[in-house]
């Protein structure tokens, strides 16, 4: 099984860099890093841009001299949106290619699929997407948001006067683990704020659901009972038919605002945004954030997309998971510098407390124990140009609570990473 490494100008020849033991064949040795994102199949839509972002970041790090004096050599594999293949390719990266670290995965199921492999082989995975929490593996660093870094602040905003002071909540999601866990946490949170069960409706649709007539009719009916907000964890393709139906049936953002956790700049790229304007999204980063780091980041990305002739380069956008990928790779590189090694155990130790000035405009810190980033939360309103207008943000980054206190039994969980959870 010959892997194909994307050998760019900076890599000179194939060499094998095993941990601790390596020999050079012709030229300078490199550090291999794995990139495990689907480039084909259903998830390719989202994951391809993360692969490109990872390559860009690695190129930038190499341009500054690499890590510990060695250049990084990316090894790209395609798990093809096939979950068992994630485990297989993960094993390949760790045992055949002997990479020092892997950046990858998008869906929770893909992460769950590779997790046993990383724990078995003591690998290191950086996971860049917001997720449902309930996990804290010593072999994974989570650079996306945990539920308390996205969902709960969003609901707090909806409850506030500015957010419309919603009294009733329609929790709509695609039927998989992330929406279910998020909604479970939200329900507990809403209870704690005095919202009764009759004012909470929870509905799930299957993947790829495209006929939202019945559901929008239900939302309408539900919203007649008081100021209502919809909290949407609807995934991927289903968003367009949902928002279109909403607009066509006359539900406006001023009447019933929808706050989405899975709609970002990349998703809006293929959408007629007119029906969405005014609806909300909660993330830890928006492309429209105005600060010098972000301006540089966005400009670099657009230039990179153009230079590599990526599809849709003229409309290239950045989004939250891309920023998380960028931050993750930099954090790993800093930690490897600090540890003066790419040994997994040493890097893990060095990562605790690592900081990085991120495009979101905040200095992000990797938590000392729980393997998650401290992140700011922002609420953006969708505009007709496919960008977000930030209407609210937290004052400072929040510490992640991967074991949500709103889920019974989690109070007994340790606040540090242990295998096999």
């Amino acid at each position: 099984m010959k892997r194909r490494s994307l050998i760019k100008a900076f890599t000179l020849s194939a060499s094998i860099a095993a941990m601790g033991l390596s020999w050079s064949i012709q030229a300078a040795e490199t550090i291999k890093v794995g990139i495990l994102h689907s480039l084909s199949g259903t998830m390719a839509i989202s994951e391809t841009s993360l692969k490109d972002m990872a390559l860009m970041t690695i190129e930038q790090i190499n341009a500054k001299g690499g890590v510990n004096g060695k250049l990084l050599e990316p090894v790209v594999v395609d798990p093809a949106s096939n979950w068992p293949l994630f485990a297989e390719k993960g094993r390949q990266l760790l045992t055949q290619d002997k990479v020092a670290v892997v950046f990858g995965c998008w869906t929770s199921v893909s992460r769950k699929s590779v997790l046993p492999v990383f724990e078995e082989l003591n690998g290191l995975l950086f996971y860049p997407v917001q997720y449902e929490g309930e996990e804290m593996s010593p072999n994974v660093f989570y650079t996306g948001a945990a539920p308390n870094q996205q969902a709960i602040p969003a609901v707090e905003y909806l409850m506030s006067e500015d957010g419309g002071a919603a009294k009733r909540y329609f929790l709509l999601g695609t039927d998989y683990v992330y929406p279910r866990t998020t909604n479970k946490i939200l329900r507990a949170f809403l209870h704690s704020k005095g919202v009764a069960d009759k004012d909470i409706e929870e509905v799930y649709t299957p993947f790829g659901h495209s006929d939202y007539q019945t559901i929008v009719a239900n939302i309408k009916k539900f919203s007649a009972g008081g100021k209502t907000a919809v909290i949407s964890t609807v995934n991927g393709d289903s968003n367009v038919p949902f928002y279109k139906e909403l607009a066509n049936q006359g539900l406006k953002a001023t009447d019933v605002p929808v706050v989405a956790f899975s709609v970002g700049e990349e998703e809006l790229r293929g959408i007629d945004t007119k029906p969405l304007v005014g609806h909300l999204a909660a993330w830890n980063y928006f492309e429209s954030v105005d600060n010098p780091v972000n301006s540089q980041f966005v400009a670099d990305w657009k230039a990179y997309a153009k230079a590599k002739n990526l599809p849709g380069a003229d409309k290239a956008v950045t989004n939250d998971p891309m920023e998380a990928t960028y931050v993750g790779i930099h954090m790993w590189a800093q930690a490897a510098e600090k540890a003066k090694s790419t040994d997994v155990d040493k890097v893990r130790e060095a990562l605790a407390g690592q900081t990085f000035k991120a495009p979101s405009g905040y200095t992000l810190t990797m938590d000392k124990t729980n393997h998650h980033l401290h992140k700011p939360v922002m609420i953006g309103e969708i505009q007709d140009d496919g960008q977000f207008n930030v209407v609210w943000e937290t004052e400072q980054p929040l510490r992640a609570q991967p074991w949500s206190p709103f889920i019974p039994g989690n109070d007994k969980r340790p606040d540090y990473a242990v295998k096999g959870n």
């Binding site: 259903t42 390719a44 839509i45 391809t48 006067e161 500015d162 957010g163 419309g164 002071a165 039927d175 649709t205 299957p206 790829g208 659901h209 495209s210 006929d211 007539q213 019945t214 009719a217 239900n218 309408k220 009916k221 007649a224 009972g225 008081g226 393709d237 367009v240 038919p241 279109k244 139906e245 607009a247 066509n248 049936q249 006359g250 953002a253 001023t254 009447d255 605002p257 990349e266 790229r269 293929g270 959408i271 007629d272 007119k274 029906p275 005014g278 909300l280 599809p311 849709g312 309103e381 207008n389 209407v391």
Partner: protein, 499 residues
């Protein structure tokens, strides 16, 4: 700024109508969100015609009509702007504007506006506006201190089919809210009345969504009914013909935008012939190169066309990217027709239902009233005989396949208006399309028609009861059982089975 001062300031502004507008605008922009909200509420309670232009601009997200700067409002403020604007529009001379304003106020009026509404209600001359204002007022008068006013309001609300009225009446009937027994009984009667009306609207809504889903299934399946029913070709790439049609719409949209921006409203109409031509062209090409060699071997066609579908999907992915592309609804396909207070029929869905029926009619005419149709039917029934009679069977096959694919292309145009346009678009329709054709009876247009609408309505009736997934599974089981009874489908011709 203390409230009293602000009031004073406002009062001064009212004294200076000429200067008022500009000053209001400047003041509004300078204010923080909370103050802006308060300002808007005050304006709504005490409308001033001079402020009309400012409020209309605010609604558009501008400060003044000629100011191109974008104003960032949040949802709460937008809602308040709508309300204040409606309040102002009640002063308009145009009865239609007043009516729309009164309807908006039914939804959004605040208690502070009661006095103003009362005045307008008393002086309103137009009957329709008067009635609408009465309702808007009634909503607020439910908490009036005078039982007689409350009673009148309750009775009035009973006349509407507004879902909000139900909530308000229900709130009134909560224990300890309404002390007057007469008002309570009236509220109970009104509530029952409102509920009946709402139920009616809901049932109609369900029927409509069923029809709408059915029309989409029909458009997806119709082309298949031709290729499968008449030619016996199992075209697994049929979904991709839909997808090609949708992408053709996308390309047309871009071209129209670039070269004829004036016609952009009508780009879907321009896209129809283009989509038909593209899908039909690709279909005919496939027929000549691949499918032609596989007549009479249905299972092999199934596999080969599946391969074709993979290639088409990937080709589109390389050409247009894996991302969905943006197909915008023109204004005449956005929004909906308000039939009842709780029933809106989206224009896009209405148009698609009509379009589906139109395509069926067209297909029927083509097959039954033209030379091509005659040839197609002849070839279907007896290929050798038709060939002997001088029918160019190869050409007819090609044209019939092109027709089936072209109709799928038309379906693609319709689908692009309600859902995503992406490389995987076709995949999600292929299984449903086959079920429609099998259930309807192969080769039967009427069968496909009934099957599509039947499946659509059954789906929508089951969905609220047991959810979308179980509904779908149940329907599948029912189809399998149905085929037990009528293996040839709903509308099969009986006849001597030819073996």
């Amino acid at each position: 700024m203390p409230k009293a001062l602000q009031r004073l300031f406002l009062g001064l502004l009212l004294l200076l109508p000429l200067a008022a507008q500009a000053a209001d605008a400047d003041y509004f922009i300078a204010a923080k969100a909370n103050e802006q909200a308060r300002l808007l509420q005050d304006w709504a309670a005490q409308p001033d015609p001079a402020r009309l232009e400012l409020l209309s601009s605010l609604q558009q997200g501008r400060i003044a009509p000629d100011d191109t700067r974008n104003l960032r409002l949040n949802n709460r403020l937008r809602g308040l702007v709508d309300n204040a604007l409606a309040s102002h529009q009640l002063l308009s001379a145009d009865a239609e504007v007043r009516l729309a304003a009164a309807q908006q106020l039914q939804k959004s009026a605040q208690p502070a506006q009661v006095a103003f509404l009362d005045r307008r209600f008393a002086s309103e001359a137009d009957a329709a506006v008067h009635a609408a204002l009465g309702l808007a007022l009634a909503n607020l008068q439910l908490v009036d201190s005078d039982p007689a006013v409350r009673l009148a309001a309750v009775r009035l609300l009973g006349e509407t089919g507004d879902p909000m009225a139900r909530t308000r009446l229900q709130a009134l009937l909560e224990p300890g809210v309404e002390s007057n027994a007469g008002v309570r009984t009236a509220a109970e009667t009104s509530l029952a009345q409102v509920k009946r009306k709402l139920l009616f609207g809901e049932l109609l809504g369900q029927a409509f969504s069923g029809l709408s889903l059915g029309s989409i299934l029909l458009l997806a399946a119709l082309g298949l009914a031709i290729t499968f029913g008449l030619l016996g070709v199992i075209n697994m790439a049929h979904g991709e013909m839909l997808m090609l049609g949708a992408y053709a719409t996308y390309v047309v949209q871009i071209l129209v935008q670039r070269y004829a921006p004036g016609a952009i409203e009508f780009y879907p109409l321009i896209a129809l012939p283009v989509a038909f031509a593209v899908s039909a062209g690709v279909g005919m090409l496939l027929e000549r190169t691949v499918i032609r060699h596989l007549y009479g071997r249905p299972l092999e066609t199934l596999l080969a066309t599946w391969g074709i579908s993979l290639i088409l999907i990937q080709a589109i992915r390389l050409l247009f990217g894996a991302q969905n592309v943006e197909v915008a609804n023109p204004a005449w396909l956005s929004g909906g027709l308000q039939v009842l207070p709780n029933l809106v029929l989206p224009y896009s869905r209405l148009v698609i239902i009509a379009f589906a029926l139109f395509v069926v009619l067209l297909t029927w005419l083509l097959l039954n009233r033209t030379r091509l149709g005659l040839n197609v039917r002849a070839v279907t029934q007896n290929r050798n005989m038709a060939a002997c009679c001088g029918v160019p069977t190869g050409r007819v096959d090609m044209l019939a396949f092109g027709l089936g694919s072209g109709i799928a292309g038309l379906g693609g145009v319709a689908l692009s208006q309600i859902g995503n346009v992406g490389p995987d678009l076709g995949q999600s329709y292929i299984i449903d399309s086959f079920l429609v054709v099998v259930l309807g009876g192969v080769g039967q247009l009427a069968g496909s028609l009934w099957a599509a609408f039947g499946l659509g309505i059954a789906n929508k009736l089951l969905e609220p009861q047991i959810g979308a997934v179980l509904g779908k599974i149940l329907i599948l089981a029912l189809i399998i059982l149905f085929i037990q009874k009528r293996p040839q489908g709903l509308f099969a011709l009986k006849g001597r089975v030819i073996d």
